[in-house]
């Protein structure tokens, strides 16, 4: 292995990819275009009903009607209509220790890629310790701050949002977990504990879920999250 090979092997970033004159080589350019297109698609595509069925998730949506509204109106992406709230109260679990739900966020593919490994692991780890887990669901056009409404609505002690990350040029299926103890509309952003970079290229989803279960257990014990949580 020569020096540049080892440099390349050290990072997935596009290092030492060569050039022709002042331009990329054709392959580098096409790779870049493909990754960029995948990133765009990840944001604009929808999670299919089939995927949700396979994951056993029922669906609700925020006040946004489509992706464009979600991107241009962050304020709508974090709240629900009265009908949706009533539907949630009826179909989801009220008063569980932990409410986990998934959101498309900025990457639809992250749901199919990571949730199948995460939900069963989270359930196993938490229920093993006698922690009750509310029925998980999917929120379309979802932003992290839906937690501020979901928490009080379903009266959950801990809310965990599994949401698609803004895609980069490396992977379009990364997921983050935003976890918070007793969220409410006036809470500060610093109350979130975040585990990011969950994907087969980063932290394996099944291992991330096992770790998140630990974090949730600590939150219930310390009655705190975010900066106030001592891990």
């Amino acid at each position: 292995m020569d020096y540049f090979d080892s440099l390349r092997a050290a990072t997935p970033a596009r290092l030492q990819i060569g050039r022709t004159g002042s331009r990329y080589k054709t392959k580098s350019y096409l790779d870049f275009r493909a990754a960029h297109a995948a990133a765009n698609d990840a944001v604009m595509s929808e999670v299919s009903g089939e995927t949700l069925q396979r994951l056993g998730l029922f669906e609700v949506r925020t006040k946004c009607k489509n992706k464009y509204e979600m991107l241009t109106r962050p304020d709508w992406g974090r709240c629900f209509s009265e009908e949706t709230k009533a539907y949630l109260k009826q179909h989801a679990t009220v008063g569980a220790d932990v409410q986990i739900y998934c959101g498309d966020g900025l990457s639809a593919p992250s749901i199919a890629a990571n949730v199948p490994d995460m939900l069963p692991m989270l359930r196993l780890a938490l229920e093993q310790d006698g922690i009750t887990v509310g029925k998980p669901f999917f929120v379309r056009y979802c932003r992290v701050n839906t937690a501020r409404e979901i928490g009080p609505l379903l009266d959950a002690k801990v809310v965990c949002v599994l949401i698609g990350e803004r895609p980069g040029l490396l992977t379009d299926e990364s997921m983050s977990a935003y976890i918070v103890y007793k969220p409410h509309p006036e809470m500060s952003e610093s109350a979130y504990t975040v585990v990011s970079n969950i994907s087969r290229f980063g932290m394996p989803p099944v291992e991330a879920a096992a770790y998140i279960a630990d974090v949730i257990r600590e939150m219930l014990k310390q009655k705190a999250s975010g900066l106030r949580l001592k891990l």
Binding site: V43, A210, L231
Partner: protein
């Protein structure tokens, strides 16, 4: 990772997030290296800093971040009994005295290694000696030996790995001791090959009025019709012998044609490859190369051999790097600083009494018996929920005899899945059954493993894998 400016982003993490804020904590542990060699015995105490790095959005990660030498003992002649065996009681006495001088008790030492090196390892009572001093070696100092490990540790201790990582060149460290020469080859900071030869400074030595020649050399001397009865009088033939030996070292490295006589090969030769770009030297004979000394100041051929090696290196036009530090201490520093690694930072365990020592690594589940062992499924990668649960199920099925005898279940994987696998095991094990599941450690069949008490707030365990990832 480039982000697309196209989006309004209210709250969007990317991989870049980890650059935002980093919080670091460091804990210190003391580690000892004890080298009982053919000629010399000495001890070095190091302080290792285990650092836990926490960054926004990431899982805290523990790693060894600093290494610093706190105490070095004088270099003692290895005490021998009349029959040539190592005097274990005398070695223990040396260690006791040195601990006192360093202001330490065995309980202070959390890591490190005792190694019996060179010819000493072949002595009949090597195992007995290790037992004799194990009480002095602290709760987590492993007793280990083996020429491959010794080569590896001497190269690490000499800094050959660092030079290879910094220069991108292939670097060989040649550790010439009293009884053996250990060669370790490094590329990009990793040890890629080792070899051990019966070449050393004390293979011809003065014993009382006589001159003693060790067995492998005696054959060579007869073969080459050299006469060695007395060090001073037969200086010319000794020089010839040392030239031969130095030549074999450079043949072994690939700088010269010609085979190394089989009787001088202690374990195996290096795999055929181009000669290394840079050489470093360590061991007692290298110390003789650094400074001018009278030929027979130690009553052996160490100084002459040093001169011969130096001349040969010049003749071959090798690039020789001189790392800082005392070359004789390379192996002991290696033993104290490089034998331990830290597991991955998401592990799972319960009700284990640390340290766990000398667990044999069992890599195929069918081979799990009824004796304590570490189960190391080597063919497991790309963890998913179903593959991890299936593995847990298979481990449970093959560990029936362990469970019957209430032997703790220890599982070590390379892939990042220990916490998930641990939780899957926990759900299948009886309540409060002792188990440990750790990852980020590579081990193979035939290895033995020591596991110390958790560090970094219980997030990771220190691990020593004995014998190496290659060779055999």
């Amino acid at each position: 990772m480039c982000s697309c400016a196209l989006f309004f982003t209210e709250f969007c993490p990317t991989g870049d997030a980890q650059f935002q804020s980093k919080r670091m904590m460091q804990e210190m542990i003391l580690s000892a290296g004890i080298d009982i060699g053919t000629t010399t015995t000495h001890l070095v105490v190091s302080r290792l800093g285990i650092q836990t790095t926490e960054a926004f959005g990431t899982v805290p990660r523990a790693q060894i971040a600093s290494k610093e030498i706190l105490y070095q003992s004088p270099v003692y002649f290895t005490p021998l009994l009349a029959d040539g065996d190592i005097d274990g009681k005398a070695v223990a006495a040396i260690l006791e005295r040195e601990y006192k001088a360093a202001g330490l008790t065995p309980a202070d030492l959390k890591s490190g290694a005792v190694i019996v090196t060179g010819e000493s390892a072949c002595k009949g009572n090597a195992a007995h000696v290790l037992q004799e001093i194990s009480a002095l070696a602290g709760s987590f100092v492993a007793a280990q030996a083996g020429s491959e490990l010794e080569s590896y540790l001497s190269g690490k201790g000499a800094g050959a790995d660092r030079i290879s990582a910094e220069t991108g060149k292939r670097v060989a460290n040649i550790d010439i001791g009293g009884g053996t020469t250990n060669i370790s080859l490094f590329q990009d900071g990793e040890c890629i090959d080792t070899c051990c030869l019966h070449i050393g400074g004390r293979l011809v030595k003065r014993v009382g009025k006589e001159t003693a020649v060790s067995r492998p050399l005696a054959e060579l001397i007869t073969d080459r019709r050299l006469t060695i009865r007395n060090l001073e009088n037969d200086r010319a033939d000794l020089c010839r012998l040392c030239d031969l030996l130095a030549g074999y070292i450079f043949s072994a490295l690939g700088f010269r044609d010609g085979d190394v006589p089989e009787m001088l090969v202690a374990d195996h030769l290096l795999k055929p490859a181009a000669p290394p770009d840079i050489l470093t030297f360590s061991g007692g004979v290298a110390a003789c190369m650094k400074e001018q000394k009278p030929d027979f100041v130690y009553g052996d051929i160490g100084v002459l051999l040093g001169k011969a090696v130096k001349a040969q290196a010049e003749k071959c036009g090798c690039c020789v790097a001189v790392p800082p530090g005392d070359p004789i201490r390379a192996t002991v520093i290696g033993a104290g600083q490089f034998s331990m690694e830290i597991s991955g930072s998401t592990i799972e365990y319960a009700d284990i009494r640390f340290p766990l020592k000398n667990l044999p690594c069992v890599c195929t589940l069918e081979q799990v018996g009824s004796e304590p062992c570490a189960i190391c499924p080597t063919d497991f990668s790309a963890p998913t929920f179903s593959s991890v649960s299936a593995l847990a199920e298979k481990i449970m099925q093959s560990s029936g005899k362990l469970l019957e005898k209430k032997i703790p279940l220890i599982v070590i994987t390379q892939a990042d899945c220990a916490k998930a696998l641990g939780l899957c095991l926990k759900s299948r094990l009886p309540k409060r059954y002792p188990f440990l599941c750790a990852d980020g450690v590579a081990c193979k069949r035939g290895d033995y493993i020591d596991i110390g008490a958790p560090v970094a707030g219980g997030r990771a365990v220190p691990v020593v894998v004995k014998t190496l990832v290659f060779g055999g």
